[in-house]
């Protein structure tokens, strides 16, 4: 059996290879898309001749072959330099760092909302298995996974902003987390902007998490220690909250951690609907513009975050259960 540090090193190496591979594939694929960055620039400028375009290609360094360009890219990326955006003509690292916090905080609030709803919902449906509550809960959960995110988002905007004028339709006005120390009013001023997008993002997650909680609860409830606790005459709710829920919640939180990694790139639709200045929209824009360094940068960063979160979860698991090491 390999040692703990050997396991870590191996996993780390695998993770690095995966990230490098993903970035290379993205870099190669975006170059296969018909129309290069200069074609896109010229699409709005009919005065530009083919000669003008070729000049610009040379000036922008688009004539370097991919393998050579990629080696240079990786060498710089190691130092945190992801190159210059071809369209925004600014360092990619800065552009991503400017957008990443918004996506991260939106994802965070979406997870908070989803867990706050999913755990009670999942618990109740598990306890009242096949009862009316279970049906209602399942229906709600199914609605959650069967409503396209953009439709829900637009409906929320029409209802809460246009009709009721309760919440802003869209946009971001600063971090709500950072505003917490300044009191409820300051927090609310920022948080209002998170409510609709986070809710629309949370809806689908809630469904999945409620399901997970329900399964986990069902499994825990059938285990011996719960039966013993019940037999000892503890109140059913005490059993559920003190014993069952505490055990059932672990897989849910784990999955939520992984969802967070997925949300960073999965929030594209929500960011578009709510005019949210996040990294997902930056990536979509980069693809439309064939901004090669920016496409590579956004893919690299979201893959890294995903892999890092997975890695973290895996390491935690192994720390808890060494038997998993050779799995």
């Amino acid at each position: 059996m390999p040692s703990g540090s050997g396991f870590l090193a191996r996993r780390l190496l695998h993770s690095l290879l995966v990230i490098l591979g993903i970035t290379f594939v993205a870099a190669a694929m975006i170059r296969l898309v018909p129309g290069d960055p200069v074609d896109i620039m010229a699409a709005g400028n009919p005065g530009m001749t083919e000669a003008d375009k070729d000049n610009l290609r040379a000036q922008l360094g688009l004539t370097t072959p991919l393998p050579q360009a990629f080696v240079g890219y990786v060498a710089n990326a190691v130092h945190g330099d992801l190159g210059m955006s071809l369209r925004q003509r600014a360092p990619v690292t800065g552009l991503i760092l400017e957008r990443l916090p918004q996506t991260a905080e939106l994802s965070l609030w979406a997870l908070v909302i989803s867990i706050a709803i999913a755990i009670p919902l999942g618990t109740i449906t598990a306890l009242r298995r096949n009862g009316v509550v279970d049906y209602a809960g399942t229906t709600f959960a199914v609605l959650g996974i069967s409503t396209p995110g953009f439709l829900l988002g637009i409906l929320l905007i029409l209802l809460f902003s246009v009709e009721l004028r309760l919440l802003p339709s869209s946009g971001f006005r600063g971090s709500a987390l950072m505003a917490i120390p300044f009191g409820p009013a300051a927090f609310w001023a920022k948080f209002r902007y998170f409510i609709l997008p986070a809710t629309s993002l949370a809806f689908a997650l809630t469904a999945i998490n409620a399901r997970l909680t329900r399964s986990a609860m069902l499994e825990v409830l059938s285990q011996e220690f719960v039966l013993v606790a019940r037999a000892k005459g503890l109140k059913p709710w005490t059993v559920v909250v003190r014993h069952a829920l505490r055990n059932a919640i672990i897989p849910v939180i784990t999955v939520a951690g992984l969802q967070f990694g997925g949300l960073l790139s999965g929030a594209i639709v929500t960011e578009t609907v709510f005019a949210w200045p996040g990294v997902g929209r930056l990536a979509v824009q980069a693809i439309q513009w064939r901004d090669y360094p920016l496409v590579q940068g956004t893919v690299l960063v979201s893959a890294t975050l995903f892999v890092a979160l997975n890695f973290f979860v895996d390491v935690l698991y192994v720390a808890v259960d060494p038997r998993l090491r050779d799995a």
Binding site: V33, P34, D39, Q59, R87, A275
Partner: protein
Amino acid sequence: MSLEDLPPKRFLALADDYLRRYALSRRAALRGALATAATVSALGSTASRGDTPRKGGTLRVGRVEEPDSLDPHKTSLAVASATMGYIYESPARRDDDGKLVPALAEGWELRDGNKTLVFHLRQGATFHDGSPCDANACVFTVKRMLDPATAAPTAYLLGAFDTIEAIDDHTVAYKFKQPFVPVWVGLTSSYCGILPPGPVQKLGAQFGRNPVGSGPFKFVSWAPDSGIKLARFDQYKAGPVPLVDALQFAQYPEDSTRVAALQSGEINAIWSGQSVPLDRVRSLKRESDIQVQQRPSLSIRALDFNESRKPLDDIRVRRAICHAVDPQRVIALALDGNANPAHGPLPSAMPGYDKKVDQLAYKYDPDQARALLKDAGVQPGTTLHLICNDSPSIRQSAEIVQAQLKDVGLTVTIQSMPIGQVVALTKKAEHDIYLYTYTYFDPDILYPAFDSKGSLNRDFVADPDMDRMIEASRVEFDDAKRQALYDTIQQKLVEEARWAPLFEPLNFAAFDSSVQGAVLRVDGEIDARKVWLKA
């Protein structure tokens, strides 16, 4: 008569005329919409009678796109150009109708056989940081624009540029290698706005995110949370000082959200490009507290046939398609009535348009279409591949065309894609029919679109006769002779059914009831210097 021998006055008139036509149409050429000078009086402005303009307030504008950079030498994006027009000042500007008006320069003259344009700059004009906006700044700006290290995508606007020279602090000479008729196209655009040497050198790559100019609004911030914020520049010299305190641009990529933001009062206005969704014009017009302005544009949407492939190399098949498609139906269904039908290769408001094509145009007649197809031996169910861009109105137009061609027995497969792929794939002739979308300022579009050497030619026809006429029209300075050439070209193009014209789009802007003094310009933008907000 060569251009060098023209009296400078004639040359300026020629250049001015060129600019007017350009400005009428200036917008993202393939996709945007060009405006015509036709009926501005019928449109009026948002000003209501009896109100006096008032200073103050923030004008908040929602747009579909966001600039990539606000460095005039680092972008070629229409929305960036429009935004930079508020921050930077160019030697001259265009008014709402596209006419040339002085800006940083209060006057100019041509010298040296029309090859040198000398500007007399206004006294006392400064940049937002207080440094003087003078001849040295002009020299710095042009040199930077032409420096290969800058890689300015719009450097082509200066044409065959020779050199720039400061004659004194307020006189500067732009020297061209030969007389350059389209000179004003560049020199009135914000891409040629004058830059302050100090901040540009100090900020380096950051300048595009922290622009400094000498235009009516100074840059305040550009952040993910608030979009682009500009404030009135009180020392503005080149025109009327703005009335509003601040101007704010936010990007709303989703149409529904942008309209909701206007309805809920989060923004005051929507304009620029495709920012007012066509599908929402009708409902916006119905709302009492929303004002909608519209203006014809100088663009065309048409079906372009790839004649390098069967069966569209057969004129009977092309004519059949022209007869089978009813533009009125496309306009009514796909555009909710928000466009005018097109008849020939040029939009009807473009100078050089030949009225005769109205009569020559193919009438909607499906029976005739079926007969022609039968005659040409085209089997019912023959499949044609149509490529178009992915804007909703274009894709829906393609769907109407598809249904109408199905009516006469042709099966159409549609592929709608982002404009970049459309341009690249149609260049490789991967289409039978291309839903062509051009926006241009001059009948000279005939060259790129229909000459066999044209960069936008997508029908792949090599007709030496046509090439000869088009090329002759480009060097013909006699108006009547040039028009005669244009007429023949247009008639020939229609007779040969080189493409099936569909419609000429309209430009739109929408405001809430507080916005006053706004006039939709020919290019679909708004001159924010004149806008004020009711208390």
